[in-house]
């Protein structure tokens, strides 16, 4: 009978401990490049827009260029093929934004995405769309 009493007490203890102490593991490996998260375009007007993004993690190399690229078409939206705003070097990860002066065609869908460039790597964030009013 004592055995069952001990088992009962153990159950109580185990539940109490696990309720407070169990933690969640992370299966996603740390990247050696910067990861980007694109935010919605704001203040979109016929001749201007504000783009913003966040660098989610710390990379292993210094950032020599960062900014945004945009175009009317999705494919090949990159530094070589699209309009771009280059904000230059950046010393740390985190939020960044750019107020862009550009004449956008009305009611046309544009695509934009942020980029970060280091000595060896060019990272593009996910593409989002917006439409000039």
């Amino acid at each position: 009978m004592n055995f069952i009493k001990k088992i009962s007490l153990f159950l109580l203890l185990a539940i109490g401990v696990c309720l407070g102490a169990c933690t969640q593991e992370d299966v996603s490996p740390t990247r050696d490049y910067y990861q980007l998260d694109t935010h919605s375009a704001s203040n979109v007007a016929a001749s201007s827009a504000t783009f913003s993004a966040t660098i989610l993690n710390a990379g292993t190399e210094p950032i020599i260029e960062h900014g945004f690229v945009w175009a009317k078409t999705k494919p090949y939206l990159g530094l070589q093929t699209a309009q771009a705003v280059n904000l230059g070097k950046k010393s740390e990860s985190g939020y960044f934004t750019a107020d862009v002066q550009h004449t956008f065609d009305r009611n046309v869908v544009y695509y934009v995405r942020p980029f970060v460039k280091t000595g060896t790597t060019l990272v593009y964030g996910q593409m989002i769309s917006f439409k000039a009013p």
């Binding site: 009978m1 069952i4 696990c18 933690t23 969640q24 990861q35 790597t121």
Partner: protein, 384 residues
């Protein structure tokens, strides 16, 4: 217990459940004495104070075997009602036990009703009582029939054992649990099945019901738990192709309604503690499943490493299987804090891998979600 000589000896009878109570019992005169097993050959009757009474009887079991065994006395009076295993018997005072059974080959059999009528001719059982037993012999209804008859022919001369115990009791409560699980998908349509998911934890809120049958069993009961949870799971998959590497981070949010149905066996009643074991099924109903996949595609262009990021929420589509059943096992204990307050603590494990052989079945049209190593730690407050 009552010995063959007619002497009654008071002591302690070990509590047992199931068919074994009809074959023998273990008895000791006091807590320090050794247990001895007694069979119908050496003992006339045994029973519990204010509880069940069993008498040695010669009877015919369901298979037609004539044997001597202990039969439980449900009602004693001019007409007696006995139970041996799941078979009921009627017997007038001092007469042989007559099995109360339907003809199994004939659904319309009224053999049992004829027996009841023949034994209650001097005070017939009302038609409406018999009508209720036309299709099924119910122990509860038979107890009422025999009580009514005994009180009719000899008022206040009927004893129903365990009469103070209800046929059914329902414990009700509210519960909160932590649910620990690792997701796994069986799908032929996406690299989702290659993903590894981390063990995640979430809170689960629910209700708790324990349906007991005190007259039938003091230890067996049926436990039902509707549980609602909102879960978040993180997964990762890496796929290397010739020139390109895809790394995908999955973020999946699930709203789940789980309904647990368990048979529960109470191990003992130890002061404030009532430990138990449970075995049953969990019905998992996925109310909604929302998922985001962040895909990072890595390639080399002109000696520069390019990383392209895309995010999609379209991979966990409407084909997600909405309902699946898994076996579940539990161990727990009730804990009586005071006369009015009872808590229950339980660890329950869902055995989710029912058919590992089908894991990569590409012919599947639906996405099967499994929660591996799914453990619930539950604390419940029981209302009085």
């Amino acid at each position: 217990m009552v010995e063959a000589s007619g002497d009654t000896i008071r002591g302690l009878v070990k509590h047992r459940e199931g068919k074994s109570i009809y074959k023998s019992f273990f008895f000791k005169k006091d807590t320090n004495a050794d247990m001895t097993e007694y069979s119908p050959e050496s003992v006339v009757a045994y029973g519990f104070t204010n509880g069940s009474q069993l008498e040695r009887k010669q009877l015919t079991d369901k298979k037609g075997n004539v044997l001597t065994a202990f039969a439980e006395v449900l009602v004693r009076g001019r007409l007696n009602l006995y139970q041996y295993q799941n078979q009921l018997y009627l017997a007038k005072q001092g007469e042989a036990l007559m099995p109360l059974q339907k003809d199994e080959q004939n659904a319309n059999s009224t053999k049992h009703l004829i027996l009841i009528n023949s034994l209650t001719l001097d005070c017939p059982v009302p038609e409406e009582h018999l009508a209720k037993m036309l299709n099924k012999i119910s122990t509860q209804r038979m107890v009422e029939v025999v009580e009514n008859y005994n009180n009719c022919v000899s008022p206040n001369n009927s004893i129903t054992y365990n009469a103070d115990k209800p046929w059914t009791t329902v414990e009700k409560g509210l519960s909160v649990s932590t649910h620990t699980a690792t997701l796994d998908f069986n799908t032929g349509s996406h690299s989702l099945e290659q993903a590894t998911f981390s063990q995640s934890q979430n809170l689960v809120f629910g209700a708790f019901f324990n349906i007991a049958f005190p007259r039938t069993s003091q230890r067996l009961s049926l436990q039902l738990e509707p549980l609602y949870s909102q879960e978040k799971h993180q997964g990762y998959a890496a796929v290397q192709e010739a020139q390109v590497k895809h790394q995908t981070d999955y973020s999946i949010a699930i709203k789940r309604l789980a309904i647990v149905s368990m048979g529960r066996y109470q191990l003992a009643q130890l002061a404030a503690f009532t430990p138990y074991l449970g075995v049953g099924l969990t019905s998992n109903i996925i109310l909604s499943g929302q998922a985001i996949a962040r895909i990072e595609t890595e390639s080399m262009i002109n000696d520069t490493r390019h990383i392209e990021t895309s995010i999609t929420d379209e991979f966990l589509d409407s084909n997600l299987k909405k309902l699946y059943l898994v076996p579940t096992v539990a161990v727990g204990t009730g804990y009586q804090i005071s006369d009015k307050h009872t808590m229950q603590f339980q660890i329950r494990y869902d055995l989710s891998q029912l058919s590992p052989g089908n894991k990569k079945d590409t012919s599947r049209s639906s996405t099967q979600l499994n929660s591996n190593n799914s453990i619930y730690l539950t604390a419940a407050y029981i209302f009085r």
